[in-house]
Symmetry: D2
Subunit: 335 residues, 4 copies
Amino acid sequence: MNTFGQNFRVTTFGESHGVATGVVIDGCPPGFQISTDKIQAFLDKRRPGQSELVTPRKEADKVQILSGVFEGKTLGTPVCLLIQNTSMISSDYEELKEVFRPGHADRGYYEKYGIRDHRGGGRSSGRETAARVAAGAVARCYLENEGIIINGILSSVHGETTREGIEKAIIKARDEGDSVGGVVSLVVSGCPPGLGDPVFGKLDAMIAFAMMGIGGVKAVEIGSGVKASAMTGSEHNDQMSAQGYLSNNAGGILGGISTGQDIIVRLSIKPTPSIQTPQHTIDLAGNDRVISVKGRHDPCIAVRVVPVAEAMMALVLMDALLEMRKIMPDCGQEP
Amino acid sequence: MNTFGQNFRVTTFGESHGVATGVVIDGCPPGFQISTDKIQAFLDKRRPGQSELVTPRKEADKVQILSGVFEGKTLGTPVCLLIQNTSMISSDYEELKEVFRPGHADRGYYEKYGIRDHRGGGRSSGRETAARVAAGAVARCYLENEGIIINGILSSVHGETTREGIEKAIIKARDEGDSVGGVVSLVVSGCPPGLGDPVFGKLDAMIAFAMMGIGGVKAVEIGSGVKASAMTGSEHNDQMSAQGYLSNNAGGILGGISTGQDIIVRLSIKPTPSIQTPQHTIDLAGNDRVISVKGRHDPCIAVRVVPVAEAMMALVLMDALLEMRKIMPDCGQEP
Amino acid sequence: MNTFGQNFRVTTFGESHGVATGVVIDGCPPGFQISTDKIQAFLDKRRPGQSELVTPRKEADKVQILSGVFEGKTLGTPVCLLIQNTSMISSDYEELKEVFRPGHADRGYYEKYGIRDHRGGGRSSGRETAARVAAGAVARCYLENEGIIINGILSSVHGETTREGIEKAIIKARDEGDSVGGVVSLVVSGCPPGLGDPVFGKLDAMIAFAMMGIGGVKAVEIGSGVKASAMTGSEHNDQMSAQGYLSNNAGGILGGISTGQDIIVRLSIKPTPSIQTPQHTIDLAGNDRVISVKGRHDPCIAVRVVPVAEAMMALVLMDALLEMRKIMPDCGQEP
Amino acid sequence: MNTFGQNFRVTTFGESHGVATGVVIDGCPPGFQISTDKIQAFLDKRRPGQSELVTPRKEADKVQILSGVFEGKTLGTPVCLLIQNTSMISSDYEELKEVFRPGHADRGYYEKYGIRDHRGGGRSSGRETAARVAAGAVARCYLENEGIIINGILSSVHGETTREGIEKAIIKARDEGDSVGGVVSLVVSGCPPGLGDPVFGKLDAMIAFAMMGIGGVKAVEIGSGVKASAMTGSEHNDQMSAQGYLSNNAGGILGGISTGQDIIVRLSIKPTPSIQTPQHTIDLAGNDRVISVKGRHDPCIAVRVVPVAEAMMALVLMDALLEMRKIMPDCGQEP
């Protein structure tokens, strides 16, 4: 279950404190240009240590193309991208060997697998998202050729919606050894109509799957989102004219199929669970413990979800685009 | 893309005004009891014409088991359930042959496939959900044996949260030829810990996929949902003690794996798009038109989403349960 | 595991003595013509009781289209085809309730599922192939529009390769209460180059999978087949000239990709296991028993494998054709 | 289409003359021991340059575990195994940039993808099988704990069946600049009954798929194989007694389900297509050319198919074993 997509199939691997993190992309169309530089540019946006709003942890995150590209172009064979893990300080996590962190997957992994790599979350670490961003970068190279542009922003934090309010909220949380949640908004422009397949391959369902699968996301909204429940049909319906749609409550997707309007998505993200504030928890033996999580953590993971959400959107659209190619209305007997 | 699930694989078929609607369930475990009566009981909850809050349209929705059951028990072979379409009045839809209804999938289907069954939405009709409810009923027979209980309620309509307010809002909309949106809340009790698979088979992601794939759903929230974005980590983290979790902001799922607490999900549903209020639209040739949708429509589809959402939850849990069986911590060399 | 194909996804259902046998085709392209008559014509070729070489058992095998077709054309939605079971004499099988037939799946099903429909093989019956033939008929309607023609013949029986020898061998076996094996040869003409995907979606591998999955098939050969092992490279290589290939030892597939030459496949099929000759076996309790299988059985199932093998070939090619559409060499940035 | 398996999902990547070859295994059960040494031991059996019967080409083939293993045990997370490509002499292939080799996938790849890595076959090279052997080694660690043992031998070459005859045939072909075909026989002992799923997940069909997907394989036989077609039912049926089966014409699989007897498989493999003997071919422009393939090639690839066929068998059995876990006859309501 580490593969995303049916056509543009992305398989990620790697634990946060293992040898390397990476991804294999199967089903990548042949003949388009990608380069280490382009992929690196997207990874650099995700990389921590770039401002005071994020963890000061340094991760080099240098990507290497191992296969699937020849003389700068994709071969149609699997593209493997590798990122060596370099700045891992496992000793930071020695204390966590026996204690479950609240709000983390520690306990779930342990109960499910009976074994876990306790160092930095192992497979459940946010570090795994570097591989998603790398894969998303490949998809974006392709999508941009088709005129499809994906933009994500951090639109609110702890209820604040201005840049100043957002920064203050994050710095306050950091200074107090606490953390804050936020909202990420995505807009896709240039998406052609027709993407998405009824009834269990709907584009909005695929987006919800992709976004809710990002660590910390607790809500996914498309277009009108939660507000739809308080509206009337005459308000909500997007009427049409020969000039186009007259509104976009649908968020660019109707009946699971893209309409050609902008795709509008919002994600609500919980506060970073790793906080210094002491919390009640238990250890492997089930005994009560108190934990104060040390280490270099983001005070607001929503900041760093932005490039990951963009990448996941790229993977969904790429997959849907290839799927759509199978359907060709002019394939019948008649001209 | 008419199949849901990897292990308990549910494929639905049928257009709203075709011969029949149905479902094939592949991967159904052998040896447990199901009966036409049990499945019919769930279908009857979904059936319209039962109160003044829903469409007066009559649908018999009598289910027939065609395969996979022998002497009252599942064989482990595909279970096919069939519902004949009986009360279809296609002439109601003659007008819709040439005009796209706002808020519906009409235009998307036409642009994508170049052909559509215009009668009552064809494949995109809510009628398809009868097949999902039938499949969900089979899953629920199994899950209830495991102590897993799914409950859904209509928790708000047009902002109203009391039974009286909800009913008034729906009747007002109906009388005005308009419609209203609503919220459906689901609670799963008795779910064992360990369901769901990192990183692209997370239980919450699967639930989001299943729920956003129900017609009209515009937002999916798990646990704290959209509120998570305005909280701090010290508020949001579910602390643990030897007696259990001290809160449930996670909504029963952490790191994509069920914790054993109740699973909490909320869906925001748009107002029924079929309304009598005249609306701007276009026809097949792209000309401006005005449409007022006739016929017997639900003033609030959220009412009827309840059993469908329960069914989809059952399918997700059933699939995750079979998946979990592949992972057995004691499968190694050591005792 | 009752679904075949990744793109043209065919799910069969039904036990031999249940209510009905059928198939759902998901991923069927929209807009091409199919009719009950066309499908019925293929089913009639498979139907028993048509000559003295096959079982005198009568099966009406009337097919009904339940969904996915509107005004004679496919909608792009799932096509469900249903065949009611009519001529089932379950009492023939009462004796088999407790005894496993040699050469049959009886014991395997029982040990695996702990339950089985003992009447006529249930799900493992050759009757399930009616659903495959029906699905194959839909694929063939499409493939024939593309100029792809599939032809199967019974090329040998019990070592005999002339029509006269074949008929004598079958009648002799029938008269002796025994049965005989045979070989079915398939030729596909008009197949375009480029079908099949390295490294785990090779066209020859898909064909082998499809053919070995037909009951009774014990060997699958492509092109030179078993003879390849006794040849030299200079004999076996298919040299090329500007006029085309100079031979076809490859059987139309090289490196897993179709070359555009005829696809050549041979299947070796075991003798019908249901014979009147007394045989040693065991019962459910594991006790020694002797069995003489009564009923109306084919003396040579290879005869009836012909239309089934053609149908499976159609499903493989259809699936590969849709897959190939995702790969378009001109999709990059350059003209 | 570079992924094999539904449960133990193996994705290979890498071109023969790219940076590296590797594999990601998703769905690997947690908690069992694997080590670089164990995997290396299997790779060493496949490695060329070990006798005069194979290519003198040197490939170090040193495997590295990048993820999924912690303190010597599998974590249940994806296992990535990497083999750096070291001994690649691309200049050997400069001549092949414009000319298609007979019997190779060169032309098919070019026509399908419009681009190819011409150096040494790129993705279609036998080198890709190193990744399969590495993945198979992981599966075999697990299967051996379950008592399942896989053995492959080269049983004939150019019609010769004795060790002496086989060696002579290979050396003769090598000395003449030609090549020879051969047969590989596999026996699996200790396989439990119940593996394999009707009707499209049959164990023999999965084996045929896996084996026909190995480069050069032209025929796959199970048990009696091609001989079945010349037998009678009374000869072919494997009768049963309380002591067990009285013969094994089935080759250990009946109705697609393993019987518990030895699984018997034979592969017929074509002669190596790379030969020095001059052959007619065409170039990219479609012009007639004559080619004599230089380089260090195996005179009989069947020799080196042995470890690959063993590995593919391990992958099939591992996948089927995990699949079987979903079916548990005692899962119903009754004790």
